[in-house]
Symmetry: D2
Subunit: 176 residues, 4 copies
């Protein structure tokens, strides 16, 4: 079955967005990009706090039930888009490691998913976080290894060693 969804999992500032743009450029079919950042942008102010998702001053992210409910509906919607024929690159951050992957796997049940680990050494991700200038400092280090705990992948890339476009090419070779 042809790949329907590509899940890129990696910590903040690991380079997922750059890779997803490059994937759009190198893959022969049209793929659309949707990520947890898009969900956060779509949320009402009332969910940008403890009941929803909150970003602390040292890079910690706290997620409440209110966010989890909306996120589940969001992922159900992405699954429906894929069932309806759209090819989708999901840019995600598995804060719960293996448990997050299991939850996502269940939500994407029946779809052909390519699981991609986007690694980046904490020190390099932290440096890129400073260079971006649009993220709370500390998220990169806090998430760099945490998000990969117990997660299994079809392909893994390291943006500290390989440019985004080459990472994308390596991933594209696994898209069927």
């Amino acid at each position: 079955m042809p790949t329907q969804i590509i899940v890129l999992n990696g910590g903040s500032s690991s380079g997922k967005t750059g890779i997803s743009r490059c994937l759009q450029a190198v893959l022969p079919h049209p793929w659309i990009r949707l990520g947890v950042d898009d969900l956060v942008d779509a949320l009402p102010p009332a969910l940008l706090d403890g009941a929803g998702i909150a970003f602390g001053q040292r890079g910690e992210v706290e997620v409440g039930d209110g966010f989890r409910e909306v996120e589940a509906a969001w992922t159900a919607g992405i699954a429906a888009m894929a069932h309806a024929g759209a090819r989708i690159i999901i840019d995600d951050v598995f804060l719960g490691g293996a448990a997050s992957q299991e939850r996502t796997r269940a939500q994407l049940g029946g779809l052909a998913v390519l699981w991609v680990g986007v690694h980046c050494e904490p020190a390099i991700a932290a440096a890129r976080e400073i260079a971006r200038g649009d993220r709370v400092l500390g998220m990169a280090v806090a998430q760099a290894e945490l998000v990969h705990r117990g997660v299994s992948y079809d392909v893994e890339v390291d943006t500290g060693r390989t440019e985004s476009l080459d990472c994308a090419r390596a991933i594209a070779a696994h898209v069927v």
Copy 2:
């Protein structure tokens, strides 16, 4: 049945985004905002041309089959989000007027939808397009009346006469 989806239809620069943010602020439950602009942002470069969606230098928008296919999957996904419990404000531009509404109505079948017409006099929308500075000039005038042709609404607002927050309150009174 409680309202599950609010569809805001209006031309470019008619003020839909402002109203949708205000709706998020005044409605008691959490609503998420998703619009055609989010779909366009998610597209690969290959669909930002004649086969997909193209924005001409005088404000004309040309939509091809490639875009229509992805858009249908996108809307199917939004419907699934709503079926899964999310409350969604859709920010749309019915370039095909009544035909666009019929297509959307079919895609959202079985859901409780509140249809909202967001009007704005062409001259005022054109002036706001200049003030925004991030849109091709001409879209506002080209779309201001076109998008409402033959469309039927549950509630209509005019952002040329009423501030966004008051428009949102008028709409919120129809959300059940």
Copy 3:
């Protein structure tokens, strides 16, 4: 002497940026837009706190000596641009009212300045602040009247009653 600088003074969300874009569109010569927001964007993280400029959670803005020093150099630079022939629209917020105007007037000494008051009722500015979605709520109300205290103008506009483009035309009529 032809007008060299247009200073737009108004509270947050009063509509200064929209007016300045419209001024660029309606004025016959090229004018460049520079505002206090551009200065804030240019600052290092170390000045985005108590020693520099800090934005509180209820819309209050605290300005320290570190910011005042950089701001004085910034304004000296804008004055030099105008002396060198550039026409400049400054988008400012006189948190100190008349005292801010006097300081600015001294810094722009020798230049032909058009002083413009951009008014907007606090309730309307607060509503627009919600509609924008990118500002801390409370700034609009906190600043709406404060910034005009004791300030004298060549022309005044009210964006709650007049669209940005028409405000710009009214201002443009005073540019010589």
Copy 4:
């Protein structure tokens, strides 16, 4: 004399902005960032064409007299900011190579300037241009080597081999 201005010269997508943010983080004093992109953002629509600055569909940049005039006033203003005590990081693209440097050197006369060459192999810059997704493709390759022709530097860095933060530390070691 202590360094008053740091000029970063490099082609589009060579990584100047990331380095300048990192410089702000590692330098002990407050430095403000201003670049040619800020000038372009400040321009009226009338200067975003042949008479001003125009960006072609294949990455070529055409600069007319209208832009040169405003740019000269802009640089005079930055020089004045530095004379008034501000420390400034300029992010520039010397499309004219050595001639651009000579013009800038004259405009910054009397100031202590640190000249920094930001190199990046054309292929890597082109890949990053795809990953960014907000630039016309082709600018990176067109400018990568052109902007360094005949330019002399106090320090040179290569973002294809060194992360932005480490480039910034290497540059900071030359700031006196």
